[in-house]
Structures are given as C-alpha cells and as structure tokens.
C-alpha cells in the first residue's frame, strides 16, 4: 500500500487506510525511540520549518524532536520574532521560506483554514500543527494511536470527549479519526460549549455526565480555557468543576479498564483532579511520548517515505 499524500491538513480528509498507515509507521518509529541511538537518517539534508504563528509549547517541541530524530535540519519561526508582526502577509512569509529552499513547513496558526490556504500556495508539503478551532490532525492521530495501544481495535469502543468542544481543534480531529475507526463517540459538556450541531459529524451530544461516562472505555478531557469565563459561555470555573470536572467518584462510573486522556496543558482541579491525572489509568504522558513517533511518521510519509520501508526500519536501510 503506497502513501500518496504530500500535505497533512485535516483528519477529515484521510481515509481509514491512511490513518492505519500512519499508525503502523508510528509503531515502527516508536521502536527506534527505545534504542540507545534514537535517530534515523531518513530526512538527512532536508530542512523543515516550524512556522508557529500562535504560541505552543508541547506541539512545537514534539515536532522539533520528531524532525531531529529523522535527521532533518529544523528552523523554528515564531510569531514574536517573525516579520508577520511587521505586517507581512502569510503568503509572503511562506513564499520566502520556500525561496530559502525549505523542504517542508509545519504550521500552527490561530486562523482556521490557514494550512489549507498555505498548501495551495506552495509546492512543498504543509503539515497542520493546529489551525484555530478547526483541526489538530497529529494530535487526533496520536490520541487514537494511544487508544489502540491500550484497547486494540477501536470498532464499537465507547469514547467520551469532555469539555470545551466548541473551541477545540483537538476534539474535531479526534472526532474524525474515531468515527472513521468505528468508535462510538459521545461529546459531553455544558450546552454552550457542546452545541447540537456536532451530531452532524456522526457523534452523540450529551450534557449529562453520569450517563455519558457509564461504561466508557476512554475519557478524553479538554482544557477549559479560562478566557471563556469572561465571555458568556459558562458562569465560573468553580461551577464547571462542580458540574463537569472529573474526580474519583465520577471516574467510578467508567468501565474498569477505561483510560483517561488529556492533550494538555491540564488545569489540575478544574477539569481533572490530580489523583486521576497522576493515577494508574492516566495515559497523559504516554500521549506526549507517542506524539514524537506519530509526528515522525507524518513528516516521513509526507516527505515521500513509504510505510513499508519504515516498518522494516533498521534505520540505515531507509531511503
């Protein structure tokens, strides 16, 4: 099975087969990360630009590390230091990067649709590292990769996504990945943050935490953004926690084998209690670790690599 995609803009546009290919490639790279020499030369001589026009810590670190594990040269470019603050357009910034012979651009942008826009302007691959409230495809791919490691196939599995869904690109990428993989997805949270329109994406919307968590095998928490409080979306963080925060008592409603996920950064004591975040069912740090392997896979495939070669990777025989 060959991989033909040059850009990764959304999970929505991926086929189930492509998701499987990314996951298989990620598994191969994850083995490399356990070796003493954690580096393969597959992208040697290639330059990857991390164009982060919105603040990010873990996603940027993960892309940075993934590129370096593949032996690529990495240039990071952020909003504060860039000429976008001098009024340069995204088009001009991107065309300059291409003129500098960058081989690939990883973009994080506050405006939804920006990676698609960039991919139409440039001849080089564009990887979406999060665009507005639209998608964060590598996060959706690493989350489902992590779920598969724990639960096996996701067909028919009950997955709950809990929190600020309306403004969450992580939720959207997970929804697309999970529905393609056959999971039964329920979104839970206050009605202002989980509007009924999401049902159009093939998921269930609920505002009742207890029935939603009943027998769920995965619960994914999303960060409650403090700034939403200042608008009219919910009364206070305290009220949110009392209605929708995950604590030990509520975690008992979950399936006994359930895992607890969070894309970070977490607000301890708001959407999740510390004892759960640090407890045995939490896979939050595994998500972070898997984030490297999945991003290695995405960079490798979009640069022209093939899944089969990565699977046979001893490293040096990769193209």
């Amino acid at each position: 099975m060959t991989w033909n995609r040059r850009h990764l803009i959304t999970v929505e546009e991926l086929s189930l087969q492509e998701i499987d290919q990314i996951h298989a490639t990620s598994a191969a790279f994850k083995k490399i990360l356990r070796r003493s020499v954690k580096k393969v030369p597959v992208l040697r001589g290639k330059t990857i630009v991390n164009l982060f026009l919105e603040p990010s810590t873990r996603t940027r670190l993960a892309f940075d590390m993934a590129a370096k594990r593949l032996s690529a040269d990495v240039i990071s470019f952020d909003a504060a230091s860039s000429s976008t603050t001098k009024g340069e357009t995204l088009r001009d910034t991107a065309e300059n990067l291409q003129a500098l012979n960058a081989d690939m651009i990883v973009i994080r942008h506050a405006a939804s649709g920006s990676p698609l826009y960039l991919s139409r302007l440039l001849d080089i691959p564009v990887i979406n590292a999060g665009d507005g409230a639209h998608e964060h495809p590598t996060q959706g791919l690493l989350d489902t990769f992590t779920m598969k490691e724990h639960l096996g196939a996701l067909q028919g599995r009950k997955v709950v996504i809990l929190g600020d869904i309306l403004f969450s690109r992580v939720a959207r990428s997970n929804i697309h990945a999970l529905t393609k993989m056959g999971a039964a997805v329920t979104l839970v949270g206050p009605s202002t943050l989980v509007p009924h329109w999401f049902t159009d994406l093939g998921v269930t919307v609920s505002h009742d935490l207890k029935s939603a968590l009943a027998d769920a095998e995965v619960v994914m928490l999303l960060r409650i953004q403090h700034e939403r409080q200042a608008s009219s979306h919910f009364p206070s963080l305290g009220e949110y926690t009392s209605m929708f925060g995950l604590n030990m008592a509520r975690a008992a409603w979950l399936s006994p084998r359930a895992i607890i996920m969070h894309p970070g950064p977490i607000n301890r004591g708001v959407e999740i209690d510390s004892e759960l975040a640090d407890g045995p069912r939490s896979v939050i740090l595994e998500q972070v670790a898997n984030g490297i392997a999945v991003r290695m896979a995405v960079l490798y495939l979009c640069a022209g690599g093939q899944p089969d070669h990565a699977v046979t990777a001893g490293g040096e025989d990769l193209p």
Partner: protein, 429 residues
C-alpha cells in the same frame, strides 16, 4: 435634436405593464412614444432583435469607496462596473473614509460623480456621526446636500433609543433609514453563518438570530414612529417571516435581497475562500429558499448587489483576516436569472421589476421605467447568451468575485444613460 431608435426587441417595462416585442424611441435623452418619419431617418439605430430591452437597472446598495479607499474602487470605476452590469442608477453607501456623515463629504461625492460617473449616482449619508452609533449625524443637512436615505451600513445602530430618534427625525424629512441588521453583541469575531458548517470548519459563527433580533427591533420602531425603515441584505428565513408579518400589518418596512444570498449557501465555504466571505454571511439552503419565496410574494422588495470591492492583497489572506464583501454589479443579472428564472421559474418581467421599478419606487428615484418622457436609461440584454466572466477583464478596480472564471448565462449587450450608449456589450463608450 438627437434621436435613437431601438428596433425589434422584447420590451419589458413593469412600471407600464409592457411586455411585448416592439421598438423604443428616444428624443433628446428621453423616451418618446414615437419618432416622426424625418426623425427616424436621422435616428441612430440599434438592432434589438433577440434582446430584451428594459429600464436600466437600479441598485440601491453599492460601495464605491470614494473618498478615501480608491485603491479598491472609485466612483469612476464603480459606475463603469454598474454600466457593464446594466445598471443606470446606483445608490452609494456612506462607509467611506471619512464616512459621509456631513454635507461636505456628500458634496465631494456629488462633485466626483459629476466629473467621473458614467451612470447616475445618488449618495446616502450616515445615521450617526462617524458611523459610531453614539450621536445622530446632521441628517437635515445631509438631506439638503442631496442624500436619498441614511444608513450606517456595515455597522448597525445598536442603541434602540438612538435608532428610535433617528427614525423619528429622518421621518420629518421623508428620508428612509436603511439598516444593516446585526446585533453586534452576538457576532463578536464571527466570520460565517453559525451552524453545522461553522462547527465543521472551526470558524466563529454569526447566528441568524442576530439579524432577526434587529429586523424585529426595526419593525417595532417603524410601527411606533411611522418611519420608513428599509432592511438591507436580508439573509435569514426567520427575518423573511418577520417582514412578511410586518407588511401584512401595513407597516412602512421594505427589504432587499442580494444575488449572492439568493445563489449561494454556506456550503461554498468548505475551501475557506475569502471570496465567499461577506456580512451578513451566506446561510443555509432553507434560508436561500425563503429569500426566493420572499421575492415571489413581495415580502422582499428588490434585488440589491451590496457591491463591495476589495483589492487582491486585502482579500488574499487567512479567512478570519480577510475583509467582508464581494463584487456584484457585473454579475447580478446572470446570477439572478439563474436562480429566479431558470431555477425558481419566475417570469422575466418579475425579475426585471425587482431590478427596476421596485428599487426606484422604494427610494422615490426618477428611474426604473420606460414611460414616455422618462430619462432614456435603458438596458439591452440577451437572457440566453453564455459567457465566461473574467473579473480581471471587468470594469471594477477589484476582482473579489465568487463567480470569477465561471460561465454565466444572460449577458448585458448595451446600457444607455439619457439616451447615450455608455456600455456597448464589450467596453465602456
């Protein structure tokens, strides 16, 4: 004495209930019942065979960006685009730089129109100073300077008290108020219709309720003050229902629909193309059907383009950052023919009515008819001709059209103002 003889056209003039093959005669810039044999011999002749001859179109909602934003459009280029679209009378919005909130700026616009315009231009003035929604603009002075209505188009007066006083005060001069209906508290950061599509695309939603609330407010204030309030670019099904009820009560409420809200829905935004970004936003198929129904039963009074030019470098951006608005004048006829005639089976005279008599009557403009003695503002079009619209080759200074590069059916073949050909089907004369 100059004369003109247009022969063999299908003459459609809803104002005089004319819809028959025939000739049009023009003497000294005005329509005439006939020409003498001697005049016919000397007259310039235009062959109208195969074409519709109707009053020049009237657009009560255009943005010509002058003064202050002439990198986007000017009164010269805007009126050329109007002529190319079959329009002979246009009403300019006052959201220029500076806004047209005083008699001096209105005079500037009139002077520029006198110098540069190829069609007839009527200005509007602001409702509030600087369109800021805090204090009434000098509405009486604006009226004296020549405005035909007042509006803060692009903004919406948020204070009900201020809108009430504006309606009362403008009513004293017989000036209609045109309102862009948008509750701004509900649309902070909004860039498209709120619903399934905005949820999928992760874009901030503009709920139709924000339009419906202000439409209701305006209906109530019109009832209370007796003022004529015109509702601009209606986009929502619920708003159409409110307007229908208001008209059933005999209130002085009028409303317009744009070609783009009639032809397109939010589905067009899947590719995040800013040439589909405007305010109010494209909505759902149910809304689109409600607009068509509203035009059919008279709830909506006319077509208006909301022609809103922006340069390439302004529009070619991230969707969130691109300005609202699209070109409309040069594509209005074929787009509306496609929706109302070919899809919704309106008769051609109904559509011509929406482009001519009704917008002219709405603002009391001496336009929109082929009655003998009226100014010879005439449009000739071929309802069947298909052509490829190239925005680059168009008359507007800007190119921000969702129909750029598309094949459209229905083409303006000639536009005359006061009996003079200003557009010959290919170029401005």
């Amino acid at each position: 004495m100059s004369s003109l003889w247009i022969s063999g056209a299908q003459v459609i003039d809803p104002a005089t209930r004319r819809n028959a093959p025939g000739d049009l005669f023009v003497r000294d810039g005005r329509l005439a019942d006939s020409l003498s044999p001697a005049e016919r011999k000397r007259a310039r002749k235009l062959d109208g065979r195969g074409l519709v001859a109707c009053p020049g179109f009237v657009d009560i909602h255009v943005h010509f960006r002058e003064p202050g934003q002439t990198h986007k459009e000017s009164i010269g280029t805007g009126t050329r685009a109007a002529a190319a679209g079959g329009f002979t009378t246009v009403v300019c919005m006052p959201n220029t730089s500076p806004p047209a909130d005083n008699a001096g700026t209105i005079q500037f616009i009139m002077d520029a129109a006198g110098r540069d315009a190829v069609v007839k231009v009527f200005p509007t003035g602001c409702i509030t100073i600087g369109m800021k929604g805090h204090a009434l603009a000098p509405i009486g002075s604006l009226k004296r300077a020549g405005v035909v209505a007042i509006t803060d188009d692009g903004e919406c007066v948020q204070s009900n008290e201020l809108m009430r006083r504006a309606a009362e005060y403008a009513g004293m001069f017989g000036l209609p108020i045109m309102d862009h209906c948008q509750d701004q508290s509900m649309t902070q950061g909004a860039v498209m219709n709120e619903g399934v599509m905005s949820t999928r695309l992760g874009l901030r939603g503009w709920p139709h309720a924000a339009e419906d609330l202000i439409v209701s407010r305006n209906v109530i204030l019109s009832a209370y003050t007796g003022a004529h309030i015109h509702l601009q670019h209606i986009s929502s099904q619920y708003s159409v229902d409110i307007i229908r009820q208001a008209k059933a009560k005999g209130l002085r409420i009028t409303a317009e629909a744009t070609p783009h809200h009639l032809a397109l829905t939010e589905g067009a935004l899947a590719g995040y193309d800013p040439n589909f970004k405007m305010n109010p936003p494209l909505r759902t198929e149910a809304d689109r059907q409600a607009l068509i129904a509203g035009l059919r039963d008279g709830t909506l009074d006319c077509i208006a383009t909301d022609h809103a030019p922006h340069t390439d470098y302004e529009k070619d951006r991230e969707f969130d950052f691109a300005p609202n608005g699209i070109l409309g004048l040069e594509t209005a006829l074929p787009v509306v023919l496609g929706v109302l005639v070919r899809e919704a089976k309106f008769k051609l005279p109904q559509v011509v009515d929406l482009f001519t008599r009704r917008p002219a009557e709405l603002l009391g403009l001496a336009a929109g008819t082929l009655r003998a003695g009226a100014p010879a503002d005439i449009c000739l079009f071929d309802p069947k001709e298909s052509w490829r619209y190239d925005a680059r080759a168009g008359q507007s200074k800007s190119r921000n059209s969702p129909w750029d590069g598309q094949t459209l059916t229905g083409r303006i073949k000639c536009t005359l103002v006061d009996g003079r050909v200003v557009f010959d089907g290919r170029r401005i004369v």
